[in-house]
């Protein structure tokens, strides 16, 4: 599976997820979003009564977890065509939380209630980018270093290790999620986390090994060797531990695992590109091998520090 094909599959999956959202707009509220951190924009499916829509007293807005604290609306401005209203608030909104808006008397309906929140897809994508760049497992979280330094000497080994690793981590993360939510928590066996997770990883590696051997022996010959190294990798245990800690659901787990694997692949690839060039350079005797590799990694880590605090969604 080349990188291009993977990208295509992800795009198709995203479009399929978006489709239902586009078909939905049948009732009064066509669209709602946070326009800025003091404004909510609501678009209606048809023009509405100006008097009702611009009367601040007809609106009740609160943050979902705090229904008893009503937010003060400064003004409600209806657009020229009467199809959208801009709700301006006195205080900045906490856009990370969902807000519940109720409008009374609009289009003859006693009360229309809807929730405004940041797009969930954006959130999922945010997890992916976070695991890939902002919290890159190798350069920002310093995990998986042993295998990292071992397989980043040449571009081909790097690619091979990265792809195998992504595959194993996605499968084992999903299995860990399943085990964690349906077996460990209900039976209060949380302390068995570590054993169960590493057991699942070994199982996945074994399974991938057997399947690959039968299905595609050629692929196995080039990638199979790295499978064993996957078990000794800190990242593969870190991903289930993180999802257990943050209580992610299945979609979020998938994104996290994909991002972790992708980040690892990215790190390996960058490192191997530099490594190949280093072999031609004139390095002092004491620094040859691991020391210089560490220093290069340190420089990459500094570069990745630039991603911290990036907030896309």
């Amino acid at each position: 599976m080349t990188l291009g094909k993977i990208q295509q599959t992800i795009l198709v999956a995203l479009v399929l997820c978006l489709a239902p959202f586009l078909v939905h707009a049948e009732d009064l509220i066509a669209e709602k979003s946070f326009k800025s951190n003091t404004e909510i924009l609501v678009k209606f499916s048809g023009p509405v009564d100006r008097a009702i829509a611009e009367d601040v007293k007809n609106y009740t807005v609160f943050e979902e977890p705090d229904p008893d604290i009503r937010l003060t609306l400064k003004s409600a401005i209806l657009a020229e065509n009467g199809k959208s209203v801009s709700l301006v608030f006195a205080e900045p909104l906490n856009t990370a939380v969902a807000h519940v808006v109720t409008i009374r008397g609009l289009a003859g309906i006693e009360s229309t209630t809807f929730t405004v929140s940041k797009s969930y897809l954006g959130y999922l994508f945010g997890i992916l980018i976070s695991a890939l760049l902002i919290n890159n497992f190798v350069f920002t979280k310093y995990l998986g270093l042993c295998v990292f330094f071992g397989t980043s000497k040449k571009k081909d080994t790097a690619k091979g290790m990265g792809v195998v690793f992504t595959l194993v981590i996605v499968v084992s993360a999903l299995m860990s999620w399943f085990f964690y939510n349906f077996i460990l928590i209900p039976y209060d066996l949380n302390f068995l986390q570590i054993v169960v997770f590493i057991g699942l990883v070994s199982l996945t590696v074994q399974a991938v090994d057997t399947v690959l051997r039968k299905v595609n022996p050629i692929l196995f010959n080039s990638f199979g060797v790295y499978l064993v190294l996957v078990i000794a990798n800190c990242v593969i245990i870190a991903v289930p531990l993180i999802l257990a800690n943050s209580n992610y659901n299945a979609a979020e787990t998938f994104m996290l695992a994909l991002g972790a694997g992708g980040g690892f692949l990215l790190a390996l690839y960058l490192m191997s590109a530099v490594s190949e060039r280093l072999q031609l350079a004139n390095i002092p005797q004491t620094f040859k091998g691991l020391p210089i590799a560490f220093i290069v990694a340190g420089q990459f880590a500094m570069a990745f520090l630039g991603f911290s605090g990036l907030q896309l969604f």
Binding site: P67, D68, I69, N94, A96, L192, V195, G309
Partner: protein, 298 residues
């Protein structure tokens, strides 16, 4: 065949042995863990009220836990408070259900032992039983009302909000007029040396003594702390000089940490939100308690 059976049997036995070892360890340590957590929480609470280190709190000081729940069904939502009843009442807790407009829906006495009240599971069960079927009960937060000889001297509020990296968990102490008397950063994942400086005294002390009016509109100014104010914040001055500075800066905004403006703003906004929301809620609760003449311990 025999080989495989031996392997499977041995593997299963080792798994069982391992599970027993871990299970025993878990049982031993989980009690110690809960106890240590509780002790630490008490320490933080007393130090926020001003009794640090060796200074012991007076006997007349009492802490009363108030738990807030959000109760919802498909039509409406209400806020439920679990408050300790007055000393000597038959049942030691009172469940007060208030609707979103501030009027009482119902109040019911509940019996909960001290341990049951501290444990989320048993406490939630009691609240669910009090509310009745058909409702969804979610725990919102917990406040501590501090009284000295029966008079209110302060409140301890907890809160969690988004920091620069992930979440920041704080606990604050306010007096009955909602002036901040103490701030403690319980948990955070900010960068060491940059955002992590929010747990340093010179940052936290900037919030001390700020009155409610200042807290309602508090913001961050991107300037370094004036050097003499910094000395006062670090406690390197006499008691009266520190007080003088606090008085001078009490209506001013928070000075941002070098290289950590976003973390500073996050803490300032977080504190602002916690205090504002609490002031509104405690007002509503007090009105209901007074109107209905409900006997509570504070």
């Amino acid at each position: 065949m025999k080989n495989i059976i031996t392997i499977v049997v041995r593997l299963t036995l080792s798994c069982l042995l391992a599970a027993t070892v871990m299970g025993l360890c878990f049982i031993f340590t989980s009690n110690a863990k809960k106890h240590n957590e509780h002790v630490k929480e008490q320490q933080v609470m007393y130090s926020l009220l001003g009794y640090k280190g060796d200074a012991k709190a007076p006997e007349s000081l009492a802490l009363h836990e108030v738990y807030r729940y959000v109760i919802s069904n498909s039509e409406k939502q209400t806020i439920g408070y679990l408050v300790p009843s007055q000393q000597g009442a038959e049942q030691n807790f009172l469940f007060v259900n208030i609707d979103l407009n501030g009027s009482l829906i119902e109040s019911k006495p509940i019996s909960l032992s001290e341990i049951e009240a501290l444990e989320p599971e048993t406490r939630n069960k009691a609240v669910i039983a009090a509310v009745g079927p058909g409702y969804q009960v979610t725990f919102a937060d917990q406040t501590v009302v501090v009284t000295d000889n029966g008079n209110r001297v302060g409140y301890l509020l907890g809160g969690k909000f988004q920091g620069f990296k992930t979440f920041v968990n704080v606990m604050l102490a306010v007096d009955p007029t909602f002036t901040l008397i103490g701030l403690e950063i319980l948990e955070h994942e900010e960068d060491p040396g940059l955002g992590a400086e929010i747990e340093q005294d010179y940052f936290k002390n900037q919030f001390k003594g700020k009155p409610f009016e200042a807290l309602k509109t508090i913001d961050v100014v991107k300037a370094p702390i004036p050097s003499d104010y910094l000395k006062a914040l670090n406690g390197k001055m006499s008691e009266e000089d520190v007080m003088r500075f606090r008085e001078q800066y009490k209506d001013k905004d928070i000075y941002a940490l070098t290289g950590a403006t976003i973390s500073t703003k996050a803490v300032a906004d977080g504190v602002k939100g916690i205090v504002k929301k609490f002031a509104y809620r405690v007002d509503v609760l007090d009105k209901v308690l007074k109107e209905q003449q409900l006997a509570v311990s504070f």
